[in-house]
Protein backbone atom coordinates (compact mmCIF):
# COMPACT_ATOMS: atom_id res chain seq x y z
CA UNK A 1 0.00 0.00 0.00
CA UNK A 2 1.35 3.38 -0.92
CA UNK A 3 1.40 5.79 1.99
CA UNK A 4 1.19 9.17 0.35
CA UNK A 5 -1.69 11.63 0.35
CA UNK A 6 -0.63 13.05 -3.00
CA UNK A 7 -0.78 9.65 -4.65
CA UNK A 8 -4.31 8.95 -3.48
CA UNK A 9 -5.59 12.43 -4.36
CA UNK A 10 -4.24 12.09 -7.88
CA UNK A 11 -5.56 8.57 -8.34
CA UNK A 12 -9.02 9.45 -7.05
CA UNK A 13 -9.33 12.45 -9.40
CA UNK A 14 -8.64 10.21 -12.38
CA UNK A 15 -10.83 7.34 -11.21
CA UNK A 16 -13.64 9.78 -10.47
CA UNK A 17 -13.53 11.22 -13.98
CA UNK A 18 -13.38 7.83 -15.68
CA UNK A 19 -16.10 6.16 -13.61
CA UNK A 20 -18.25 9.29 -13.89
CA UNK A 21 -17.86 9.14 -17.62
CA UNK A 22 -18.82 5.46 -17.78
CA UNK A 23 -21.83 5.99 -15.51
CA UNK A 24 -22.92 8.88 -17.73
CA UNK A 25 -22.78 6.58 -20.76
CA UNK A 26 -24.28 3.47 -19.18
CA UNK A 27 -27.11 4.96 -17.11
CA UNK A 28 -27.85 8.27 -18.81
CA UNK A 29 -27.13 7.19 -22.38
CA UNK A 30 -24.61 10.04 -22.85
CA UNK A 31 -27.36 12.64 -22.64
CA UNK A 32 -26.07 16.19 -23.12
CA UNK A 33 -28.22 19.09 -22.00
CA UNK A 34 -28.94 21.77 -24.53
CA UNK A 35 -30.30 25.20 -23.73
CA UNK A 36 -30.20 27.87 -26.37
CA UNK A 37 -32.32 30.59 -24.81
CA UNK A 38 -33.22 31.53 -21.23
CA UNK A 39 -36.62 33.10 -20.52
CA UNK A 40 -37.76 34.89 -17.38
CA UNK A 41 -41.19 34.29 -15.80
CA UNK A 42 -42.94 36.44 -18.36
CA UNK A 43 -41.45 34.60 -21.30
CA UNK A 44 -39.09 37.43 -22.16
CA UNK A 45 -35.76 36.38 -23.54
CA UNK A 46 -33.02 37.23 -21.04
CA UNK A 47 -30.09 35.37 -22.47
CA UNK A 48 -28.89 33.25 -25.35
CA UNK A 49 -26.15 30.66 -25.75
CA UNK A 50 -23.23 30.55 -25.22
CA UNK A 51 -23.71 30.95 -21.47
CA UNK A 52 -20.74 31.64 -19.22
CA UNK A 53 -19.88 29.18 -16.45
CA UNK A 54 -22.51 29.14 -13.72
CA UNK A 55 -23.82 26.74 -11.10
CA UNK A 56 -26.06 25.10 -13.66
CA UNK A 57 -23.37 24.84 -16.34
CA UNK A 58 -20.02 24.50 -14.55
CA UNK A 59 -18.01 24.98 -17.75
CA UNK A 60 -20.58 27.03 -19.61
CA UNK A 61 -22.24 26.10 -22.88
CA UNK A 62 -21.07 26.33 -26.44
CA UNK A 63 -22.66 28.33 -29.26
CA UNK A 64 -25.35 25.73 -29.88
CA UNK A 65 -26.24 25.66 -26.18
CA UNK A 66 -24.75 22.24 -25.40
CA UNK A 67 -23.41 21.85 -21.87
CA UNK A 68 -19.61 21.73 -22.14
CA UNK A 69 -19.30 20.11 -18.71
CA UNK A 70 -21.31 17.08 -19.83
CA UNK A 71 -19.48 16.94 -23.14
CA UNK A 72 -16.19 16.85 -21.26
CA UNK A 73 -17.56 14.15 -18.97
CA UNK A 74 -18.65 12.06 -21.94
CA UNK A 75 -15.26 12.36 -23.60
CA UNK A 76 -13.20 11.74 -20.46
CA UNK A 77 -13.25 7.95 -20.77
CA UNK A 78 -11.83 7.96 -24.30
CA UNK A 79 -9.09 10.47 -23.66
CA UNK A 80 -7.92 9.13 -20.30
CA UNK A 81 -8.24 5.44 -21.17
CA UNK A 82 -6.37 5.79 -24.45
CA UNK A 83 -3.69 7.95 -22.86
CA UNK A 84 -3.18 5.26 -20.21
CA UNK A 85 -3.22 2.52 -22.84
CA UNK A 86 -0.61 4.24 -25.02
CA UNK A 87 1.60 4.97 -22.01
CA UNK A 88 1.30 1.35 -20.85
CA UNK A 89 2.21 0.02 -24.30
CA UNK A 90 5.17 2.40 -24.48
CA UNK A 91 6.56 1.19 -21.16
CA UNK A 92 5.93 -2.53 -21.70
CA UNK A 93 7.33 -2.64 -25.24
CA UNK A 94 10.32 -0.56 -24.16
CA UNK A 95 10.97 -2.98 -21.31
CA UNK A 96 11.09 -5.89 -23.76
CA UNK A 97 13.38 -3.98 -26.07
CA UNK A 98 15.57 -2.99 -23.13
CA UNK A 99 16.25 -6.57 -22.01
CA UNK A 100 18.50 -7.57 -24.93
CA UNK A 101 19.91 -4.03 -24.91
CA UNK A 102 21.12 -4.40 -21.33
CA UNK A 103 22.10 -8.09 -21.41
CA UNK A 104 23.59 -8.78 -24.82
CA UNK A 105 25.05 -5.52 -26.12
CA UNK A 106 28.52 -4.41 -25.14
CA UNK A 107 28.73 -1.12 -23.29
CA UNK A 108 30.74 0.54 -26.08
CA UNK A 109 27.94 -0.36 -28.52
CA UNK A 110 25.42 1.04 -26.06
CA UNK A 111 27.19 4.39 -26.08
CA UNK A 112 26.96 4.49 -29.88
CA UNK A 113 23.28 3.63 -29.91
CA UNK A 114 22.68 6.36 -27.38
CA UNK A 115 24.48 8.86 -29.60
CA UNK A 116 22.37 7.82 -32.58
CA UNK A 117 19.19 8.26 -30.64
CA UNK A 118 20.15 11.65 -29.33
CA UNK A 119 19.33 12.94 -32.81
CA UNK A 120 15.71 12.43 -31.77
CA UNK A 121 16.10 15.46 -29.55
CA UNK A 122 16.05 17.73 -32.59
CA UNK A 123 12.92 16.15 -34.08
CA UNK A 124 10.06 17.04 -31.78
CA UNK A 125 7.38 14.41 -31.43
CA UNK A 126 4.50 16.80 -32.10
CA UNK A 127 5.77 17.76 -35.55
CA UNK A 128 6.42 14.12 -36.41
CA UNK A 129 3.05 12.99 -35.10
CA UNK A 130 1.22 15.72 -37.04
CA UNK A 131 3.14 14.87 -40.17
CA UNK A 132 2.56 11.12 -40.00
CA UNK A 133 -0.97 11.15 -38.65
CA UNK A 134 -2.50 13.69 -41.03
CA UNK A 135 -3.03 11.21 -43.91
CA UNK A 136 -4.55 8.74 -41.46
CA UNK A 137 -6.79 10.97 -39.43
CA UNK A 138 -8.14 13.55 -41.85
CA UNK A 139 -10.59 12.54 -44.51
CA UNK A 140 -10.28 13.70 -48.09
CA UNK A 141 -13.19 14.36 -50.41
CA UNK A 142 -13.26 10.62 -51.08
CA UNK A 143 -13.49 9.73 -47.40
CA UNK A 144 -10.98 8.15 -45.05
CA UNK A 145 -8.10 5.95 -46.16
CA UNK A 146 -8.64 3.56 -43.26
CA UNK A 147 -11.66 2.24 -41.38
CA UNK A 148 -12.51 3.60 -37.94
CA UNK A 149 -11.01 0.77 -35.82
CA UNK A 150 -7.96 0.74 -38.08
CA UNK A 151 -7.46 4.49 -37.54
CA UNK A 152 -7.52 4.06 -33.78
CA UNK A 153 -5.12 1.11 -33.93
CA UNK A 154 -2.74 3.00 -36.22
CA UNK A 155 -2.80 6.11 -34.05
CA UNK A 156 -2.07 4.09 -30.92
CA UNK A 157 0.71 2.19 -32.68
CA UNK A 158 2.34 5.31 -34.10
CA UNK A 159 2.18 7.30 -30.87
CA UNK A 160 3.74 4.27 -29.15
CA UNK A 161 6.44 3.34 -31.63
CA UNK A 162 7.79 6.87 -32.10
CA UNK A 163 8.82 7.00 -28.44
CA UNK A 164 9.90 3.40 -27.85
CA UNK A 165 13.56 3.94 -28.89
CA UNK A 166 14.05 6.76 -26.38
CA UNK A 167 12.33 5.01 -23.47
CA UNK A 168 13.98 1.65 -24.09
CA UNK A 169 17.41 3.26 -24.02
CA UNK A 170 16.46 4.93 -20.76
CA UNK A 171 15.23 1.66 -19.20
CA UNK A 172 18.18 -0.23 -20.66
CA UNK A 173 20.58 2.17 -18.97
CA UNK A 174 18.74 1.75 -15.68
CA UNK A 175 19.12 -2.03 -16.03
CA UNK A 176 22.78 -1.76 -16.99
CA UNK A 177 23.40 0.37 -13.88
CA UNK A 178 21.66 -2.24 -11.72
CA UNK A 179 23.75 -5.01 -13.29
CA UNK A 180 26.85 -3.42 -11.82
CA UNK A 181 25.49 -3.71 -8.27
CA UNK A 182 27.13 -6.12 -5.86
CA UNK A 183 24.12 -8.36 -5.39
CA UNK A 184 24.04 -9.10 -9.12
CA UNK A 185 27.76 -9.92 -9.07
CA UNK A 186 27.05 -12.26 -6.17
CA UNK A 187 24.24 -13.97 -8.02
CA UNK A 188 26.45 -14.40 -11.08
CA UNK A 189 29.20 -15.98 -8.98
CA UNK A 190 26.68 -18.41 -7.55
CA UNK A 191 25.79 -19.43 -11.10
CA UNK A 192 22.45 -17.71 -11.64
CA UNK A 193 21.17 -17.73 -15.21
CA UNK A 194 20.38 -14.52 -17.06
CA UNK A 195 16.68 -15.10 -16.71
CA UNK A 196 17.02 -15.62 -12.96
CA UNK A 197 19.08 -12.46 -12.58
CA UNK A 198 16.46 -10.56 -14.50
CA UNK A 199 13.34 -11.66 -12.75
CA UNK A 200 14.67 -12.25 -9.23
CA UNK A 201 17.18 -9.43 -8.90
CA UNK A 202 16.48 -6.73 -11.46
CA UNK A 203 12.71 -6.79 -11.70
CA UNK A 204 11.97 -5.96 -8.04
CA UNK A 205 14.14 -2.86 -8.38
CA UNK A 206 12.77 -1.94 -11.77
CA UNK A 207 9.05 -2.13 -11.05
CA UNK A 208 8.82 1.05 -8.94
CA UNK A 209 10.90 2.94 -11.50
CA UNK A 210 8.71 1.64 -14.31
CA UNK A 211 5.60 2.84 -12.51
CA UNK A 212 7.05 6.34 -12.34
CA UNK A 213 8.05 6.27 -16.01
CA UNK A 214 4.53 5.08 -16.79
CA UNK A 215 2.77 8.02 -15.13
CA UNK A 216 5.22 10.43 -16.74
CA UNK A 217 4.38 8.93 -20.11
CA UNK A 218 0.67 9.38 -19.42
CA UNK A 219 1.35 13.11 -19.10
CA UNK A 220 3.38 13.11 -22.32
CA UNK A 221 0.57 11.40 -24.25
CA UNK A 222 -1.97 13.89 -22.93
CA UNK A 223 0.21 16.78 -24.09
CA UNK A 224 0.45 15.22 -27.55
CA UNK A 225 -3.34 14.90 -27.59
CA UNK A 226 -3.62 18.64 -26.87
CA UNK A 227 -1.24 19.54 -29.68
CA UNK A 228 -2.94 17.20 -32.13
CA UNK A 229 -6.29 18.63 -31.10
CA UNK A 230 -5.16 22.17 -31.82
CA UNK A 231 -4.13 21.10 -35.31
CA UNK A 232 -7.50 19.44 -35.81
CA UNK A 233 -6.24 15.87 -35.71
CA UNK A 234 -8.74 14.24 -33.40
CA UNK A 235 -8.46 10.88 -31.80
CA UNK A 236 -10.03 8.34 -34.12
CA UNK A 237 -10.21 10.76 -37.03
CA UNK A 238 -11.60 14.20 -37.85
CA UNK A 239 -14.67 14.26 -40.07
CA UNK A 240 -14.19 17.32 -42.21
CA UNK A 241 -17.26 18.57 -43.99
CA UNK A 242 -16.56 19.35 -47.64
CA UNK A 243 -19.91 21.02 -48.13
CA UNK A 244 -19.13 24.24 -50.02
CA UNK A 245 -22.12 26.22 -48.78
CA UNK A 246 -22.12 25.76 -45.02
CA UNK A 247 -19.41 23.42 -43.81
CA UNK A 248 -19.80 22.00 -40.31
CA UNK A 249 -16.78 22.19 -38.02
CA UNK A 250 -14.67 19.01 -37.96
CA UNK A 251 -16.24 16.42 -35.70
CA UNK A 252 -14.54 13.89 -33.49
CA UNK A 253 -15.36 10.63 -31.79
CA UNK A 254 -17.96 11.25 -29.04
CA UNK A 255 -16.58 14.51 -27.64
CA UNK A 256 -13.12 13.17 -27.01
CA UNK A 257 -11.09 16.02 -25.50
CA UNK A 258 -8.65 16.88 -28.24
CA UNK A 259 -11.66 17.27 -30.52
CA UNK A 260 -13.21 19.72 -28.07
CA UNK A 261 -10.00 21.76 -28.01
CA UNK A 262 -9.77 21.85 -31.79
CA UNK A 263 -13.37 22.92 -32.22
CA UNK A 264 -13.55 25.49 -29.47
CA UNK A 265 -10.16 27.19 -29.74
CA UNK A 266 -11.41 29.63 -32.42
CA UNK A 267 -13.67 31.21 -29.80
CA UNK A 268 -10.74 32.29 -27.63
CA UNK A 269 -11.41 36.01 -28.15
CA UNK A 270 -15.20 36.01 -28.38
CA UNK A 271 -16.02 33.57 -25.58
CA UNK A 272 -12.79 32.67 -23.75
CA UNK A 273 -14.46 30.26 -21.32
CA UNK A 274 -15.62 28.02 -24.17
CA UNK A 275 -12.08 27.60 -25.45
CA UNK A 276 -10.42 27.35 -22.03
CA UNK A 277 -12.78 24.77 -20.46
CA UNK A 278 -11.46 21.60 -22.14
CA UNK A 279 -7.85 22.77 -21.77
CA UNK A 280 -8.37 23.24 -18.04
CA UNK A 281 -9.71 19.69 -17.83
CA UNK A 282 -6.49 18.52 -19.47
CA UNK A 283 -4.54 20.54 -16.90
CA UNK A 284 -6.44 18.87 -14.04
CA UNK A 285 -5.76 15.37 -15.35
CA UNK A 286 -2.09 16.15 -15.98
CA UNK A 287 -1.82 17.55 -12.45
CA UNK A 288 -3.41 14.38 -11.09
CA UNK A 289 -0.85 12.23 -12.92
CA UNK A 290 1.97 14.44 -11.66
CA UNK A 291 0.66 14.06 -8.09
CA UNK A 292 0.67 10.28 -8.52
CA UNK A 293 4.26 10.40 -9.79
CA UNK A 294 5.42 12.53 -6.89
CA UNK A 295 3.54 10.43 -4.37
CA UNK A 296 5.22 7.27 -5.63
CA UNK A 297 8.64 8.92 -5.71
CA UNK A 298 8.45 10.01 -2.07
CA UNK A 299 6.99 6.65 -1.09
CA UNK A 300 9.78 4.62 -2.64
CA UNK A 301 12.57 6.90 -1.46
CA UNK A 302 11.17 6.74 2.08
CA UNK A 303 11.06 2.96 1.85
CA UNK A 304 14.73 2.94 0.98
CA UNK A 305 15.54 5.19 3.92
CA UNK A 306 13.61 2.97 6.34
CA UNK A 307 15.52 -0.07 5.13
CA UNK A 308 18.85 1.72 5.50
CA UNK A 309 18.00 2.87 9.01
CA UNK A 310 16.82 -0.62 9.85
CA UNK A 311 20.20 -2.00 8.94
CA UNK A 312 21.97 0.48 11.18
CA UNK A 313 19.70 0.20 14.21
CA UNK A 314 19.05 -3.52 13.83
CA UNK A 315 15.44 -3.09 14.75
CA UNK A 316 13.66 -6.35 15.33
CA UNK A 317 10.61 -5.58 13.21
CA UNK A 318 12.59 -4.65 10.17
CA UNK A 319 15.09 -7.39 10.68
CA UNK A 320 12.36 -10.00 10.51
CA UNK A 321 11.66 -9.59 6.84
CA UNK A 322 15.03 -10.64 5.49
CA UNK A 323 15.09 -13.74 7.71
CA UNK A 324 11.72 -14.81 6.39
CA UNK A 325 12.97 -14.38 2.88
CA UNK A 326 16.03 -16.42 3.67
CA UNK A 327 14.05 -19.39 4.97
CA UNK A 328 11.78 -19.21 1.96
CA UNK A 329 14.75 -19.34 -0.31
CA UNK A 330 16.02 -22.41 1.46
CA UNK A 331 12.79 -24.25 0.87
CA UNK A 332 12.68 -23.41 -2.78
CA UNK A 333 16.26 -24.49 -3.10
CA UNK A 334 15.54 -27.95 -1.72
CA UNK A 335 12.40 -28.11 -3.82
CA UNK A 336 14.33 -27.43 -6.94
CA UNK A 337 16.82 -30.12 -6.08
CA UNK A 338 14.06 -32.63 -5.52
CA UNK A 339 12.48 -31.75 -8.83
Amino acid sequence: MIRSVKFWIGLSIILLLVTGSFIHTLFFDSYIRQQQIIYDNHHNVIGAAPFPPSLKFPLGTDKLGYDIGLKVLQGAKFTICFAVLIALLRVIISLFVAIPYAFYIRSSMRLWLEKLLSSFYYVPLTILAIFILTPILQNTVNGFLYSFPMRIILEVVILTVLVVPLISVMIGNMMAALMKEEFVEGAKVLGASKWRIFHKHLLPHLVPKMLIVFTQQCVQVLIIFIHLGYFKLFFGGSFIDFNQMAPDPPRSLSNEWSGLIGNYYIEIFTHPFVAIGPIIMFAIVIYAFNLITEGMQTHYSQNKQILKKGKKNKKATLQQQPTIEKTENKFTFIDQKGA
Binding site: L116, Y122, V123, I127, F131, I132, Y265, F269
Partner: protein, 284 residues
Protein backbone atom coordinates in the same frame (compact mmCIF):
# COMPACT_ATOMS: atom_id res chain seq x y z
CA UNK B 1 40.50 15.55 -33.96
CA UNK B 2 38.83 12.40 -32.71
CA UNK B 3 36.03 14.46 -31.25
CA UNK B 4 35.51 16.26 -34.55
CA UNK B 5 35.20 12.95 -36.39
CA UNK B 6 32.71 11.74 -33.81
CA UNK B 7 30.64 14.88 -34.26
CA UNK B 8 30.61 14.49 -38.03
CA UNK B 9 29.44 10.90 -37.77
CA UNK B 10 26.75 11.89 -35.31
CA UNK B 11 25.60 14.65 -37.62
CA UNK B 12 25.38 12.23 -40.54
CA UNK B 13 23.32 9.86 -38.39
CA UNK B 14 20.98 12.70 -37.45
CA UNK B 15 20.44 13.62 -41.09
CA UNK B 16 19.90 10.00 -42.09
CA UNK B 17 17.31 9.44 -39.38
CA UNK B 18 15.48 12.63 -40.38
CA UNK B 19 15.38 11.45 -44.01
CA UNK B 20 14.12 8.02 -43.00
CA UNK B 21 11.38 9.57 -40.88
CA UNK B 22 10.24 12.02 -43.53
CA UNK B 23 9.37 9.16 -45.89
CA UNK B 24 6.95 7.58 -43.43
CA UNK B 25 3.69 9.26 -44.54
CA UNK B 26 4.21 7.86 -48.04
CA UNK B 27 4.48 4.39 -46.53
CA UNK B 28 1.27 4.85 -44.57
CA UNK B 29 -0.72 6.37 -47.43
CA UNK B 30 0.28 4.01 -50.21
CA UNK B 31 0.79 0.92 -48.00
CA UNK B 32 3.70 -0.10 -50.18
CA UNK B 33 7.22 -0.57 -48.94
CA UNK B 34 8.90 -0.12 -52.35
CA UNK B 35 7.29 3.28 -52.70
CA UNK B 36 8.69 4.21 -49.31
CA UNK B 37 12.22 3.31 -50.40
CA UNK B 38 11.70 5.34 -53.56
CA UNK B 39 10.42 8.32 -51.56
CA UNK B 40 13.41 8.17 -49.23
CA UNK B 41 15.74 8.17 -52.23
CA UNK B 42 13.88 11.13 -53.68
CA UNK B 43 14.19 13.09 -50.44
CA UNK B 44 17.89 12.34 -50.27
CA UNK B 45 18.32 13.53 -53.86
CA UNK B 46 16.39 16.71 -53.11
CA UNK B 47 18.63 17.44 -50.17
CA UNK B 48 21.64 16.98 -52.40
CA UNK B 49 20.47 19.83 -54.60
CA UNK B 50 18.62 21.79 -51.93
CA UNK B 51 19.28 25.04 -53.80
CA UNK B 52 16.71 24.15 -56.45
CA UNK B 53 13.94 23.36 -54.00
CA UNK B 54 10.61 25.07 -54.44
CA UNK B 55 7.56 25.50 -52.29
CA UNK B 56 3.95 26.28 -53.08
CA UNK B 57 2.52 29.51 -51.80
CA UNK B 58 -1.10 30.16 -52.69
CA UNK B 59 -0.81 27.85 -55.66
CA UNK B 60 2.32 29.53 -57.04
CA UNK B 61 5.61 27.75 -57.09
CA UNK B 62 8.48 29.73 -55.59
CA UNK B 63 12.13 28.97 -54.97
CA UNK B 64 12.59 27.91 -51.34
CA UNK B 65 16.10 28.99 -50.67
CA UNK B 66 16.75 32.61 -50.17
CA UNK B 67 13.10 32.90 -49.18
CA UNK B 68 13.17 30.55 -46.20
CA UNK B 69 16.27 31.99 -44.56
CA UNK B 70 14.80 35.13 -43.02
CA UNK B 71 11.84 33.35 -41.31
CA UNK B 72 14.30 30.68 -40.27
CA UNK B 73 16.59 33.14 -38.49
CA UNK B 74 13.54 34.75 -36.93
CA UNK B 75 12.40 31.41 -35.45
CA UNK B 76 15.87 30.49 -34.27
CA UNK B 77 16.38 33.88 -32.60
CA UNK B 78 13.16 33.45 -30.68
CA UNK B 79 14.06 29.90 -29.65
CA UNK B 80 17.55 30.74 -28.50
CA UNK B 81 16.58 33.92 -26.64
CA UNK B 82 13.79 32.17 -24.80
CA UNK B 83 15.97 29.18 -23.92
CA UNK B 84 18.69 31.43 -22.51
CA UNK B 85 16.24 33.68 -20.68
CA UNK B 86 14.50 30.66 -19.17
CA UNK B 87 17.82 29.33 -17.94
CA UNK B 88 18.96 32.63 -16.44
CA UNK B 89 15.61 33.36 -14.80
CA UNK B 90 15.47 29.88 -13.31
CA UNK B 91 19.00 30.20 -11.97
CA UNK B 92 18.25 33.52 -10.28
CA UNK B 93 15.03 32.21 -8.79
CA UNK B 94 16.84 29.11 -7.55
CA UNK B 95 19.47 31.13 -5.71
CA UNK B 96 16.77 33.12 -3.97
CA UNK B 97 14.80 29.98 -3.14
CA UNK B 98 17.74 28.17 -1.61
CA UNK B 99 18.16 30.89 0.99
CA UNK B 100 14.57 30.52 2.16
CA UNK B 101 13.61 28.41 5.21
CA UNK B 102 12.72 24.77 4.61
CA UNK B 103 8.96 25.01 4.99
CA UNK B 104 8.77 27.77 2.38
CA UNK B 105 10.90 25.72 0.03
CA UNK B 106 8.52 22.79 0.44
CA UNK B 107 5.60 25.06 -0.37
CA UNK B 108 7.36 26.40 -3.45
CA UNK B 109 8.05 22.90 -4.70
CA UNK B 110 4.39 21.96 -4.35
CA UNK B 111 3.33 25.10 -6.19
CA UNK B 112 5.84 24.28 -8.91
CA UNK B 113 4.32 20.82 -9.40
CA UNK B 114 1.05 22.58 -10.06
CA UNK B 115 2.54 25.03 -12.56
CA UNK B 116 4.46 22.24 -14.22
CA UNK B 117 1.16 20.57 -15.04
CA UNK B 118 -0.22 23.49 -17.01
CA UNK B 119 -0.51 22.47 -20.65
CA UNK B 120 1.40 24.78 -22.99
CA UNK B 121 -1.74 25.62 -24.93
CA UNK B 122 -3.37 26.88 -21.73
CA UNK B 123 -0.43 29.22 -21.10
CA UNK B 124 -0.68 30.63 -24.61
CA UNK B 125 -4.44 30.99 -24.41
CA UNK B 126 -4.26 32.79 -21.05
CA UNK B 127 -1.59 35.08 -22.47
CA UNK B 128 -3.82 36.03 -25.39
CA UNK B 129 -6.80 36.60 -23.13
CA UNK B 130 -4.72 38.66 -20.70
CA UNK B 131 -3.38 40.98 -23.39
CA UNK B 132 -6.83 41.59 -24.82
CA UNK B 133 -8.33 42.10 -21.35
CA UNK B 134 -5.57 44.53 -20.40
CA UNK B 135 -6.14 46.47 -23.60
CA UNK B 136 -9.89 46.66 -22.99
CA UNK B 137 -9.39 47.98 -19.46
CA UNK B 138 -6.53 50.41 -19.95
CA UNK B 139 -6.29 50.97 -23.69
CA UNK B 140 -2.62 50.11 -23.51
CA UNK B 141 -1.65 47.49 -26.02
CA UNK B 142 1.17 45.56 -24.37
CA UNK B 143 2.10 43.92 -27.60
CA UNK B 144 0.53 42.80 -30.82
CA UNK B 145 -1.24 39.51 -30.31
CA UNK B 146 -0.85 38.52 -33.92
CA UNK B 147 1.55 39.34 -36.68
CA UNK B 148 0.40 40.39 -40.12
CA UNK B 149 2.40 39.48 -43.20
CA UNK B 150 6.01 40.46 -42.83
CA UNK B 151 5.57 42.13 -39.44
CA UNK B 152 7.75 40.70 -36.68
CA UNK B 153 6.66 40.31 -33.08
CA UNK B 154 9.19 39.31 -30.47
CA UNK B 155 8.05 39.94 -26.91
CA UNK B 156 4.89 37.87 -26.73
CA UNK B 157 6.22 34.70 -28.37
CA UNK B 158 9.41 34.84 -26.31
CA UNK B 159 7.48 35.23 -23.07
CA UNK B 160 5.10 32.44 -24.09
CA UNK B 161 7.92 30.10 -24.99
CA UNK B 162 9.95 30.77 -21.86
CA UNK B 163 7.33 30.45 -19.11
CA UNK B 164 7.12 26.66 -18.96
CA UNK B 165 10.84 26.00 -19.56
CA UNK B 166 11.62 28.42 -16.72
CA UNK B 167 9.42 26.37 -14.43
CA UNK B 168 11.00 23.09 -15.56
CA UNK B 169 14.53 24.43 -15.08
CA UNK B 170 13.62 26.03 -11.76
CA UNK B 171 12.23 22.82 -10.30
CA UNK B 172 15.11 20.74 -11.60
CA UNK B 173 17.67 23.20 -10.21
CA UNK B 174 16.09 23.28 -6.77
CA UNK B 175 15.90 19.48 -6.62
CA UNK B 176 19.48 19.05 -7.81
CA UNK B 177 20.81 21.68 -5.40
CA UNK B 178 19.03 20.04 -2.49
CA UNK B 179 20.46 16.68 -3.45
CA UNK B 180 23.87 18.30 -3.73
CA UNK B 181 23.58 19.89 -0.28
CA UNK B 182 23.39 16.39 1.25
CA UNK B 183 26.94 15.70 0.10
CA UNK B 184 29.94 15.94 2.45
CA UNK B 185 31.62 18.84 0.67
CA UNK B 186 28.67 21.07 1.44
CA UNK B 187 29.01 20.39 5.16
CA UNK B 188 32.75 20.77 4.89
CA UNK B 189 32.35 24.18 3.29
CA UNK B 190 30.06 25.29 6.07
CA UNK B 191 32.36 23.87 8.72
CA UNK B 192 35.15 25.94 7.25
CA UNK B 193 32.98 28.96 7.96
CA UNK B 194 31.86 29.72 4.43
CA UNK B 195 28.47 31.33 4.14
CA UNK B 196 25.63 29.23 2.68
CA UNK B 197 25.23 31.74 -0.14
CA UNK B 198 28.86 31.34 -1.10
CA UNK B 199 28.72 27.54 -1.18
CA UNK B 200 25.51 27.60 -3.22
CA UNK B 201 26.74 30.20 -5.66
CA UNK B 202 30.17 28.81 -6.38
CA UNK B 203 30.20 25.12 -5.59
CA UNK B 204 26.68 23.73 -5.82
CA UNK B 205 25.88 25.65 -9.00
CA UNK B 206 29.00 24.43 -10.68
CA UNK B 207 28.39 20.84 -9.67
CA UNK B 208 24.82 20.78 -10.92
CA UNK B 209 25.71 22.20 -14.32
CA UNK B 210 26.43 18.89 -15.99
CA UNK B 211 23.06 17.38 -15.07
CA UNK B 212 21.31 20.54 -16.15
CA UNK B 213 23.08 20.43 -19.47
CA UNK B 214 21.60 17.00 -20.21
CA UNK B 215 18.22 18.08 -18.90
CA UNK B 216 18.21 21.12 -21.19
CA UNK B 217 18.09 18.84 -24.24
CA UNK B 218 14.70 17.57 -23.12
CA UNK B 219 13.56 21.14 -22.54
CA UNK B 220 14.73 22.14 -26.01
CA UNK B 221 12.83 19.21 -27.49
CA UNK B 222 9.70 20.47 -25.77
CA UNK B 223 10.36 24.04 -26.94
CA UNK B 224 10.64 23.13 -30.61
CA UNK B 225 7.22 21.48 -30.37
CA UNK B 226 5.92 24.62 -28.74
CA UNK B 227 7.42 26.81 -31.43
CA UNK B 228 5.04 25.21 -33.90
CA UNK B 229 2.06 26.07 -31.69
CA UNK B 230 3.25 29.60 -30.92
CA UNK B 231 3.89 30.42 -34.55
CA UNK B 232 0.42 29.26 -35.47
CA UNK B 233 -1.40 30.91 -32.61
CA UNK B 234 0.24 34.30 -33.16
CA UNK B 235 0.31 33.90 -36.94
CA UNK B 236 4.05 34.52 -37.08
CA UNK B 237 5.87 34.06 -40.33
CA UNK B 238 8.36 31.51 -39.05
CA UNK B 239 9.92 28.35 -40.37
CA UNK B 240 7.18 26.01 -39.18
CA UNK B 241 4.76 27.62 -41.62
CA UNK B 242 6.78 26.19 -44.47
CA UNK B 243 6.62 22.76 -42.87
CA UNK B 244 2.91 22.80 -42.29
CA UNK B 245 1.72 24.66 -45.38
CA UNK B 246 3.57 22.56 -47.87
CA UNK B 247 3.23 19.02 -46.76
CA UNK B 248 5.95 17.36 -48.80
CA UNK B 249 8.56 15.10 -47.17
CA UNK B 250 11.50 16.96 -48.68
CA UNK B 251 10.34 20.27 -47.20
CA UNK B 252 9.86 18.68 -43.79
CA UNK B 253 13.30 17.11 -43.99
CA UNK B 254 15.07 20.34 -44.95
CA UNK B 255 13.24 22.36 -42.28
CA UNK B 256 14.03 19.84 -39.55
CA UNK B 257 17.67 19.78 -40.60
CA UNK B 258 17.80 23.58 -40.63
CA UNK B 259 16.35 23.72 -37.10
CA UNK B 260 18.75 21.04 -35.89
CA UNK B 261 21.92 22.77 -37.19
CA UNK B 262 22.39 25.59 -34.65
CA UNK B 263 21.45 23.47 -31.67
CA UNK B 264 23.62 20.62 -32.79
CA UNK B 265 26.59 22.98 -33.03
CA UNK B 266 25.75 24.61 -29.70
CA UNK B 267 25.47 21.30 -27.87
CA UNK B 268 28.55 19.84 -29.52
CA UNK B 269 30.51 22.89 -28.38
CA UNK B 270 29.17 22.74 -24.84
CA UNK B 271 29.82 19.02 -24.59
CA UNK B 272 33.37 19.53 -25.77
CA UNK B 273 33.90 22.27 -23.17
CA UNK B 274 32.42 20.11 -20.43
CA UNK B 275 34.56 17.09 -21.28
CA UNK B 276 37.68 19.25 -21.40
CA UNK B 277 36.87 20.75 -18.02
CA UNK B 278 36.28 17.27 -16.60
CA UNK B 279 39.67 16.14 -17.88
CA UNK B 280 41.34 19.16 -16.30
CA UNK B 281 39.71 18.40 -12.99
CA UNK B 282 40.78 14.77 -13.14
CA UNK B 283 44.32 15.87 -13.96
CA UNK B 284 44.34 18.16 -10.94
Amino acid sequence: MKILLKMIIQWILTVVSIILISGLPALIMQKDFRLYVQKVKEVALWLYRAGDMTYFYKGREMPLFPEVLSPYFYSITILIISLLLAYVMAQLLTWVTLLLPTFLRKLIKNVLTFFESLPDLLVFALMQIFIVYFYKKTHILLSNVAAMGEQRIYIVPIVCLMILPTIYFYKMMVLLAEEESQKPYFEFGRAKGLKDVYVYLFHVTRNTHENLFHFSKTVLWFMISNLLLVEWIFNMNGITHYMYDDFRPEILAICLILIAVPFFVLYALLEWLLSRKMKEEVAL
